[in-house]
Symmetry: C2
Subunit: 239 residues, 2 copies
DNA sequence: ATATTGACTATTGTAGACAAGAAACAAGGT
DNA sequence: ACCTTGTTTCTTGTCTACAATAGTCAATAT
C-alpha cells in the first residue's frame, strides 16, 4: 500500500535544482496543504485525516502534524482535541474580522511608516505597482490579484516592522481564503482594471507626498471599494 | 538514566483532580516552557536542546516539537533549521516592535469597539479594575502587574474580535518577555500604585463615556508613562 | 606554526509502531 | 418501536528508533 504511487512532495523538489532538503518536510507540507485549501481543492469544513494526508503528500505523520499546528495557528484549519482537523469554514463574522483586521494593520503600518524619510524604500512599492500595471495591460486578472496583495504587503513593509509584516501576511492568507470561498468575491471582478491600478498609484503618490491623513482616508475608501458589498449582501449580525 | 527522577508534567496533573489528559502533552509542554522562559529560568539566547527538554518534562520529542513550533510562532523562541532553538534574545528593535504593536492593536480595538452600545460588556473591565485596586491596596506588585495585563486584555476584548484577541494575547506574551529580560523594567516599579490604578480607572471611564479621541489620547500617554525610559538607559545597537 | 582536511559526535529531522479515546453500529432490554 | 448499552473500528496522541546533517576537534601537511 505504501507503493501506491503517492503524489509526494519530496521527489518533486529534486528537479528544482537547489538543495531539496533546504526546507523541512514540515514547511513543504504547510505549503502544499495551504495551496490546496486556497485553491479550493480542500473544501471548507472538510475533514483532514492525518493518515490520508501523509499518503497524499508522501511523508510521515510527525512533520505533517507539526505543519498542521502551524496552519491551525494561521487560522486556515480548525482542530478539536481528539476530534481531528477540518478546513476552516468562515462565516460572515469571520470575514468581517479578517477584513477589519487587514484594514487595521494597514492603518497601523501607515502610522508607523508615514514620514518616509528614505524615499528609496519606496522602490519596492513602485516595482509592485509596475507589476500591477503590466498585468492590467495584459488583462491577466488572476495575476493582478496576486500583484495587488504584493503591493499592499510592500506598503505595510514600509514600517520596517518584522512582526507586523508577519501578522499582515497571515491576515492576507485568510483574505485569500475568503476569496477562495467566493465570499464577497467582487474583489476579483474589478469593473475597470485601469481604474483599479490608478487608485493604487494614487495611494502610493500620497504616501510619497507625505500626507498621512490623505493616505488613511484613501485607504479607507480603497478597502471600501474593494470589499464592501451592497447592504443586502451583508447579513451582518446586528448587535 | 531514564530513571533520574524527571520533573515531569504528566504526574503533576494527577493531584489536580480533573482529567489529567484533558489537555495534550503539547499544550502542557508549551505552558511549561513558556513559564520557564517568562520567569527567567531559561535565559535569552540559551539553547533549547530537545533531548534535554524531553527528560526535563518527562515527555517524548514529537509533542515537544509541536509545542516548540507554537512557541516559535509566538515569538518566544527562535529556531534555525538543523541548528536547533534558542530562547528569543530581544534587542532594542524587537522591544520597539513589540511595544508599538501592542499600542497599535489597542488603538485598533478601541476604534472597533468604541461606541460601546451594550454597557454590560464593560462589566469584565470593571471587574479587572477592581482586581487591580485590590492588589494595589495589598501592595502586591507582582499581582498588580498581572491584573494590569488582564485589564488591558479586557479592554481589547470589547471589540468582540476573536482574531484581534489572539494577536493581542501573543503580543502580551512578548511584552512579558521584555519585562522578564529586565529591558525597560520600569513598568514593574510604579512609583505610586494608587496613581497607577487611577489612570486605568480614568481610561475605563472615558470608554464608558464614549469619547474615542480622549481614550486614544489617554492610551497614548498611558503607554508612554509605562514604558518609555530615558535615553541613557537605551543601549541602542548602533548600525 | 598555521591552515586544511578528515572523522567523530551531538543534535535535529523523519519514520514506523503502539496506545488511548471517540464515534458508529449492532444487539438486547423495556 | 425506541432507547440503552456494549463492542468494534477509526482516528488521534504518543513513544522509540533510525537517518541525516552541522559543528567540533584532532591530525597531518605545507
Amino acid at each position: 500500500m505504501a507503493t501506491s504511487r503517492p503524489v509526494g512532495i519530496k521527489e518533486e523538489q529534486q528537479p528544482n535544482g537547489s538543495r531539496l532538503s533546504s526546507r523541512s518536510l514540515t514547511d513543504l507540507a504547510v505549503e502544499a496543504i495551504r495551496s490546496k485549501i486556497l485553491s479550493g481543492e480542500f473544501a471548507p469544513g472538510q475533514r483532514l485525516v492525518e493518515e490520508r494526508l501523509t499518503e497524499l503528500l508522501g511523508i510521515s505523520r510527525p512533520p505533517l502534524r507539526e505543519g498542521m499546528r502551524l496552519l491551525q495557528q494561521e487560522g486556515l484549519i480548525v482542530t478539536l482535541p481528539r476530534r481531528g482537523s477540518t478546513v476552516a469554514a468562515l462565516d460572515e463574522d469571520d470575514v468581517h474580522e479578517i477584513l477589519t483586521l487587514r484594514s487595521g494593520l494597514e492603518h497601523m503600518a501607515i502610522d508607523l511608516a508615514m514620514p518616509v524619510e528614505d524615499k528609496s524604500r519606496l522602490r519596492s512599492c513602485w516595482e509592485a505597482l509596475e507589476a500591477m500595471e503590466s498585468s492590467a495591460a495584459r488583462e491577466d486578472r488572476a495575476q493582478l490579484v496576486r500583484d495587488g496583495y504584493a503591493f499592499h504587503a510592500s506598503i505595510v513593509a514600509l514600517a520596517g516592522h518584522r512582526r507586523l509584516n508577519n501578522m499582515y501576511a497571515s491576515v492576507q492568507q485568510q483574505v485569500m481564503l475568503c476569496m477562495a470561498r467566493n465570499l464577497r468575491v467582487r474583489e476579483h471582478h474589478y469593473e475597470d482594471l485601469q481604474q483599479h491600478v490608478a487608485r493604487h498609484r494614487y495611494l502610493l503618490e500620497l504616501i510619497e507626498k507625505g500626507d498621512p491623513q490623505a493616505v488613511l482616508a484613501e485607504l479607507a475608501v480603497h478597502g471600501e471599494r474593494s470589499f464592501t458589498l451592497p447592504a443586502e449582501e451583508v447579513p451582518k449580525t446586528a448587535p
